[in-house]
Each structure stands twice: as structure tokens, then as C-alpha cells.
Symmetry: C2
Subunit: 181 residues, 2 copies
Amino acid sequence: MSGFEPVGSDIKWQGKIITAGVASYRYPDGRLVTRDKVWHPGAVGILAVDAEQVWLTRQPREVAGMTDSLEIPAGKLDVPGEPPLQCAQRELVEEIGMHADSWSELSGFYSSAGFSDERVWLYLARDLSAAEGGAQPEEGERIEIVPWPTDRLDEAISECQDAKSLIALLWLTAELTRGTL
Amino acid sequence: MSGFEPVGSDIKWQGKIITAGVASYRYPDGRLVTRDKVWHPGAVGILAVDAEQVWLTRQPREVAGMTDSLEIPAGKLDVPGEPPLQCAQRELVEEIGMHADSWSELSGFYSSAGFSDERVWLYLARDLSAAEGGAQPEEGERIEIVPWPTDRLDEAISECQDAKSLIALLWLTAELTRGTL
């Protein structure tokens, strides 16, 4: 399979977070394809694990119709120039009021590669401690902090309907089952 | 945490596949929130497994900049009224030329719950057999069929950058490790 070159974008709408329009690509054989495209700044997700629990959140996800989506802590790359790891460290404090001394990158993936360039950086955060001042939700954020026992991970996976969080929790299940974490 | 009511949508652009705009929601305390929103018809993904391999594909994902994304077979719910399971059965034939006698729903999730209503239905397909006529790619689709040995799943997970496929492959890893599949 051969590569393609981007040959142009026709921006149709710029929202607060996303930009939508049509992008065109040319293949070496001359074929031109056009795709609906959503540009997104990218996001981070954090799998924060201590000896007995993984730190989850519940929050409304209005556009998906969920009143209390069970998720890992996460956030958008909405500070210009901020590297993903730094964003993850900031979000862990803001959303659940924790610092972590140990960070490693677990995975990087595209949420919906067919129409969006949103990439998610997923981190494992360990050696947790309470941050001074606790959680600092942004104005209007309605985030509940949910410490979840790691011996009941299957129940979290059954309830969870958020892609990045499922990836993190399934990864954790596999590692715990193998005894490699 | 209390629920919210949708109170209106302002469509800004209608593409071939997606629709983009702003949606508003009202909380019981009177607070109004507006969100960038991408409406999407939804999609299916298929984890097709036989005794020794899982059936994967490689295909370009232009908007995400990937020339050969390693994925499970998948497709959009782009036939009006077609139920997700029927779409999955059709896509398995079209993309990899296989029928399955055994189907079960593994999971349902939102790709990017913060800005899109795209829901993915994930199925486990077993008891596979070759479909008459083989794979039937749509015009212009460039899909390579990749049978992947299940004893080398970790390598597929390392390479894969597609959310729905990671969920399926991590689920399979956990089941195989536990000996429950």
C-alpha cells in the first residue's frame, strides 16, 4: 500500500474546540480522495493506580447523552505549546487532586481515525500522593471522584462507555491478570 | 449529579458522513451549557477470531495521517435502518470475505464522548468460514487482509493506533490470559 499527500483543506466551521471541513489527499497513482474531517487539539488520559484502587471520575457527557460517564481522568491539549505529559500532570491535580511521582506513556491512539485527527496520549501514573488544595475543577465542571477497587475492575469495564477509559482499564486488567504490574 | 435536557442545536455544516455544530443543554439548576458537537451515524467493529488467529486489516486513514492503520474489520452504520449486528455481518464479508456462525456483542462505547455522539458496537465473531466470492471492497477502498497469530497479540497492540481496535485486542488479551475464551 502506498502513501498519500495532503493537497488541501476546505474549512467549513470553526467551533470553540474543534474545526470541521473537507480535506483532500492524492495517491501516487493520481487518485484524489476527499474526506470529512474534524481537527482537534488532542487529549490526554491518565491511568492513576495505587496499591488497591484505580482513580476514576464520573461526569456528564452531554453530546453523548450520558449523565454520569465513568472515565479515567483526562483533558484536552488546550494550552498552546503544553506537552502532553505536562498536560496529564496538570489534569491529575485538577480532576482528582493527586500528584504522581512515577509517569510512563502507555499508548497513543486516534479516537476515531476515519474522520478526526484527535490523538490521545495515555499515561500510567503511580506513586500517588494528595496534592495541596485538593482537586481544582474548572468553573462549571461537574466531576465526581471515584476511587475504584482494582479487584472489581470487571464491573468498571462493564459500566464504562468511553473509549480511552476502556483502553486503559482493559490494559490494566491484562497486566494484573499476568501479574506484570 | 443530576441530569440535563437538550434544549437546541445549531447546525453549522453537514458533510457527507458527519454533521457539525453547537448543541445546548439545560441543567435542573437552570445552568445552560453549549458544546461543540459532531453528529455521526455510529459504527461497528468486529473481533473475528478462530483457533490460531485474529483477522485484522491494514488501510489508509488519511485524516489521521496513517498510511497503513492496523485495525479490526469495521464499518459505519451508513445503510438507513440497518441494525448494528447486520451491519457487522455485512462488513465482515465485504472487508475480509468471511462469514461467522457465532456472534455476540462485546461492548458498546463512544469514540470521543466530549464532542461526538459516535457510538461503536463491538462484536465477537467466531466459527468463521470463507464467504463465496471472497472480500468485496467498496470502490476505492484499499484494504489489506491481515491474519494475525493470537500468540503474537502484544505486537499487534503495540502497532495499533486505532481506539476501537485497541479495545478489541486488549479484551482478547485479557480473555486469552485468563483462559476464558
